[in-house]
Point group: C2
Amino acid sequence: MNKTISVNDILQDLESHIENLNYGESPKELYEPISYIMSLGGKRIRPLLTLLSYSLFKNDYRQALSPAAAVEVFHNFTLMHDDIMDDAPLRRGKATVHEKWNPNTAILSGDVMLVRAYDLLVDIDPVLLPKCIRLFNRTAAEVCEGQQHDMNFESMDEVEEDTYINMIRLKTAVLLGFALELGAILAGRDEKEAKLLYDFGVNIGIGFQLKDDLLDVYADKAKFGKQVGGDIIANKKTFLLIKAKELASGAIKEDLERWIASKDFDKEEKVKAVTAIYDKLHIKTLTEKKMQEYFDLGFSQFEKLEVSNQDTLEVLRQLTKDLINREK
Amino acid sequence: MNKTISVNDILQDLESHIENLNYGESPKELYEPISYIMSLGGKRIRPLLTLLSYSLFKNDYRQALSPAAAVEVFHNFTLMHDDIMDDAPLRRGKATVHEKWNPNTAILSGDVMLVRAYDLLVDIDPVLLPKCIRLFNRTAAEVCEGQQHDMNFESMDEVEEDTYINMIRLKTAVLLGFALELGAILAGRDEKEAKLLYDFGVNIGIGFQLKDDLLDVYADKAKFGKQVGGDIIANKKTFLLIKAKELASGAIKEDLERWIASKDFDKEEKVKAVTAIYDKLHIKTLTEKKMQEYFDLGFSQFEKLEVSNQDTLEVLRQLTKDLINREK
């Protein structure tokens, strides 16, 4: 009866739940962009984490599909607004909402999308609702704080390593933590296990972002699916660049600063040159070391979990490892 | 002991409650715009309505200060985002947030402001919370729908009277209805009285917007405090213009269409000419009649209210009449 839970089964249920969400009808300019961005896909990691976390303790994960979808709707709301702020033309290979419609529509559709995320939370057991909304609010505000820090970085000369880690914690990691915590709370575990899952999610989330930073430079071109070196071309203050600026001296420092200041350059040449600087400074190893610290910390919390369904624990462990080892 | 409630006392308590709200500290680019827009003042009508509505049934309105503030924070969130969309340079005579900072900051500060509105609701009695959040969500989505309809109107040749009334119902009236309904629910009246107060608020709210449309053209310049005829200059599809386009024929129609099409005109001359067209078509009387219909409908619902505090009912009646008779 209690057969091992399958990620694919959960994802199928989740996808059909998301497909059937009704955000509203009229005016269509307001609601079509929501269906559009939600249909672009993505790995649905966050709601999957909520459902797996819930399944550590209870067997009827379908009960948690709406709150899990709330996390995904919220995530896509942040993407819709971030894409305006970053002036991004593409999202998952398709036109962004502000490009396909216009920035005003992307602002307003995003706003109503955030409201709809709360709508998906409101059917939670009233006994658990205040706590869930408080934690969701805290997380949502932190994600906004992270985005503002990231925007601030663009006009800053120097960003410290700790400041950067705090930014990615806020911008991306806390939502993974919340997704996991929410599952435990919905399953009636609102103390020790919820906190361990939150911390696990945050630390793993920081590791994932460091992995993203690494892949931008060191991904296998054939497997990566997007341009290698995009962050280098844009002078994006990733962990790699921050570390390189911290460690570079003498001729290497001058070389790095020249590439950063250069307005007119061959993209491929810049990627090659900055990557060579990173190599000289052993940035790859340093980043991998830092990333591994966060993965190790996350797993040390994971190992402390006491759950009803050991099989699900193994599924969650394997999913996390697959994400850690991804090559795109 | 049960002395008559005073609007000024409530407003003072409300203002100091709002002044003491803590939206967050860091990064300051995210949170300063919230304090800024909230400090620009305004009449605080919406939270005042919540507190008066609550006071119809109970005497400790301070219990409702946080949810009342939520309504005001939500309202100012919509102003912050609407100002970006409308490219408005000024709000209450001061620079708008996207002008004083930049559009990205106004988007993101607005987002976190919406989250903070939910934070101010979450301390509501857990028994009432799901209902309050559901109604708030519905209202918030409707306000976004109204704004989208209003933006759609800009590129439409013709807007029907009913379509226009529906837009102002969504964009401005339902929030007044919700503010009143919320007070009744918080005071433990969640059926008949809450519904009557909601309907009263919506109908009065539609009347207020028609009054706004009227004042733009027919206000006493000395009392109005802003440019008379701003809507005429901008060809804004107000009730007056919609009605004039519906009724004009022959030479008057040609004249009106010429002024609407004109790109290069003397502002004062256009205001004078279009006002003369309105006068010929008796638009002022027609608008006043329509406005009065909504006020009458609202008051017919108001008269059906059965409340504990008759004194407060009179205060609410008088406040509404003062708003109806305002000249700016």
